[in-house]
Subunit: 333 residues, 4 copies
């Protein structure tokens, strides 16, 4: 039995508490938040959990084996570090940390103390991403050519970070998970208009093997869009995360180049076959992730969404941000 404490009961915290509480082999025994109102809500939903405004009390408790950090990103490092120092496994909200240096320090610390880090890249546990991963691993699409994602909606403007730090971590964790080629360099553009934080950004990632990644993130779109295209040499995939029924469509479409030697006379032919929409598992992603966290601790496995995965996402965020501030400067990873 793993006893957990959760720091932070704001927007996402209640989901973390509810899902960990539902996992066999876990007891959520403590919740900490510095806002008394948050604790009141926690009390109402989970009358049997201990509440405290002092996270140190929780972290120091010998009765706690693992801590989830569900607070704003600027505070992750401090909470995570103290938890590790006190010998706790940690589950940290995405993005992992504010800087790559912080992430590296946490990874080193956890390694030294033989503790697990899991970064809450929730999307990796959705039925949609698990299905895409399965298709990619089976080479259903062929060699990847591009990954192009649009993630736009109206709001919520954040006070402390720009749209890249707010919306891009989702896609960056997914790209890290799916794309085998190594990211090499980044170009980010975008703009601000209303506040000093950019509300719109366009990120291109150059990968090895001529693979291109692109993200379009925007806080000021009249319509909500969550659409990703994956172009493979053999097939192409459209993922519309807002479609309640048919999230993933695999198109048996592609191009074939003949006569490659002679570029002035090359023959491009187009193939257009069936479309296929695999059934997607509907289970709650966070529940599956919580079970995986327990599994990794109990069986001493390294999670694929470990500290290093979190670090890779933070590195891209830092580089993208630097490029954005310098109007598309090419930043090598």
């Amino acid at each position: 039995m793993i006893n957990m404490g959760i720091i932070g009961y704001g927007y996402w915290g209640p989901n973390v508490v509810r899902n960990f509480a539902a996992v066999d082999g876990v007891r959520v025994i403590s919740v900490s938040d510095r806002h008394p109102n948050a604790l009141k809500r926690a009390q109402k939903a989970h009358p049997d959990i201990e509440l405290t405004t002092d996270y140190r009390e929780m972290i120091a408790s010998a009765n706690i084996h693992a801590v989830a950090v569900v607070t704003p990103v600027s505070t992750h490092f401090q909470f995570a570090k103290e938890a590790l120092q006190n010998g706790k496994h940690i589950f940290v909200e995405k993005p992992f940390t504010s800087t790559a240096a912080q992430a590296e320090e946490l990874i080193e610390l956890a390694d030294r103390k033989n503790l697990k880090i899991m970064v809450d890249h929730t999307f990796l546990f959705t039925g949609a991403v698990r299905k895409i991963k399965e298709l990619v691993d089976k080479d259903e699409l062929g060699n990847l050519c591009y990954y192009d994602s649009t993630r736009v909606n109206l709001g919520l403007f954040q006070h402390d970070v720009n749209v890249i730090w707010d919306l891009a971590p989702h896609d960056l964790s997914i790209m890290d998970h799916l794309i085998k080629a190594k990211p090499q360099a980044i170009v980010a553009t975008g703009g601000n208009h209303f506040t000093q934080h950019e509300y719109v950004a366009y990120i291109t990632i150059y990968y090895a093997d001529n693979v291109i990644g692109h993200l379009n993130v925007n806080w000021m779109s009249p319509v909500k869009v969550r659409t990703t295209l994956l172009g493979g040499e053999k097939k192409m995939l459209l993922w519309n995360d807002l479609d309640p029924d048919v999230k993933i469509k695999v198109y048996d479409k592609g191009i074939e180049i003949k006569n490659k030697e002679n570029v002035y006379d090359l023959l491009v032919s187009y193939r257009s076959g069936d479309m296929w929409a695999p059934r997607i598992d509907q289970g709650e992603a966070l529940k599956i992730e919580a079970e995986y966290f327990v599994d990794c601790i109990e069986n001493d496995k390294t999670p694929f969404n470990d500290g290093k995965a979190g670090l890779r996402v933070v590195q891209v965020l830092e580089s993208a941000n630097k490029s954005l501030k310098n109007r598309g400067e090419l930043v090598y990873l």
Copy 2:
């Protein structure tokens, strides 16, 4: 009565001939193409038009007042220059020329000889763009924040140009027409995979007044998308050119920033009102453009899609291409 000759009867030429032939005050009296098969098709559709494989014959004819150049872009300059030299007004397919220098030379020549240049930015004459122009001119959207367009589909890979030269001229001519702020610099990214020409590109244009433009063009998408978002300070607009019924939706949505002085405590509120889809005129764009060409000649008007408009588009194409080749280099206009 204006007598016209048309050079080029390939993919687009038949539309140009058909539409000019239907305009009052115009006679299409000659069609030239170096492929005999093209002339056979022209003969069948328009038995009464003179046909020739020698464009010089047409250009030299005293009976011709205006020439339409509907050939691959690499040939525009030569045909257009000779036509101007022979005292003909010209109607030139987009993009206007292969280089800005060529465009400047043609503009200068036309000015000297007091002839009209019209560049076939057909989209400006669609009901959709005319309606958006009307809304922008009436300041229905408020100050523009961004223009974001996606123009992707499967094929057609071009042999002689990359996806920027193939697909971006549409949006660039529309942006030139709609956006009042001046473009200042460009960043373009993208990649090739199958041939030496880039099949996918992402273009960011930095305008004055914090306006951002972005294009996503791709020859290798499993689905066809023609969607543009315009974000204004007052309202936002979604243009889906593939929707047979409701191409333009105006959303009475926006954000308001209060307490701007204090960035740490600024209040962002969201406004969400009605959506409105104005009726779009269904007339054929090229027909309206052809009538406008005649009107400009007969009444000595300068078309808004004149040589200078064509030049501006070519300048952006050249800059975008340069940026693309240098992985997002910032290129000032």
Copy 3:
């Protein structure tokens, strides 16, 4: 302060409890269900509410002023009647009763005892239906020509009733609310295949003034559809209840008939103008309905969804069922 008891804590009961509990001026003090497991769930969600497996205890309590009946339809009559006999106002799940005779007896009883009946026609309190009602009352659409609704999905096959009793009450209550013309006769067709209950049915209602109503209800559709068309003489309306953003579209489209005297030479012209999607209030319908129930009791108002409205829906259900069993027999109302 109105003290309420709720009978039935199955699928819908928890929503009723939660919403009434959130209304100012109401206390939910008792929940009854004959299944101990249901009471356990109620206990967990609402630790402070009294629970009982004996509804008579609740109904007999002098401390209770109003009772909500949230049980299968076959039991509504008994529970509602006993509650009225004990001097309680009642809030009854739709459809009101199994037979029109039962509904009439409850109405008469409530009248005699000066008690309120509200039938839970929840849809009438959604933002969408309230907006349509507002448009109809302002004569925005002109005289109604037809109301055509499709309500299909996969499952849930009911054990005790056919698809008409399961899905049609929603639309029938909305039609009763919106359509001013009187229903005169009904034709219902459909079929069964898997069980003895019809899984698909098509109901036509003939109204006065040449108004036609039609429902398509089906438990065995691969896709979920919730779409209603209202055709008016001036405008037409499309209500797609599954669209998260734009539920209602008003089309400024219509036809005009000229030269009506001469049917062989009549001129029909079509008008096609803007489309307009009014903003819809997002409040939870059941919450608004619960507040209205309290308002009706405290201020002695007759709810528009009173026993008589419930009766009218049951009369149509009975007639439709009779017609269905006799393969489209015309049943007068």
Copy 4:
């Protein structure tokens, strides 16, 4: 070589001429229309075809082997009969005739003279219907439960027939082609409002083996809909004829009934698997049909869309019309 004459060059006639003219082994040598303007249009499109306002001239010509009748339905019988009497094979626009009696007389006459009748049920030759037919024949869907089609749009009100005779023949010919069970009885409802012809109608067809068919046809819908659902015991199919890319979706969804003996305790379980959209052949339907007509004549085959198929559709139309006039009277076939 088959020489054809075409009677009627109105809305559909030009398509018939163009497609037959493109078939190997056919020469369209004569077009007849009583409107000189129609003949002018024919002259412009096909300068080499003989034109006449006197169809009898064409029908009497020994040089003509087959005649296509592309005129209003009320005239089909006369033209077709005279053509058969003159020994011509006939290709007749749908619906075949105005009455079943007329159809029977033509069938008898053709039989006697050993001539072919083909009724232009064009939809049967579309890629979509051919694919559905293939799936049904391979028993991909299992036993059919229902066929439910919606065919609505704004206009075009016809002067001489109601919406059933205008829009229903499409679906009725498809149902005749696809549904193996025999139609037994019909119920049709609907209404008129603007003219004496019904603008909206709902047709239920009761087939053997508990199969149900339903059509929703409407001239006064603000949106165009062309959607058909086929529910099979094994799978279900959605055909959206307006989707430019994905017209047919096959859902691996269904229900299973267990414990059928005990209706009070039967267990219904739902199966939800992949969705699959087969590629659809894009060839022009009328071209394929024209080639089939020639094939049937040259190789003495009986077309599946022969006079008897045309008769079956007319029988249903007559019955539906009778039912409609009597408010849903059950009419046995």
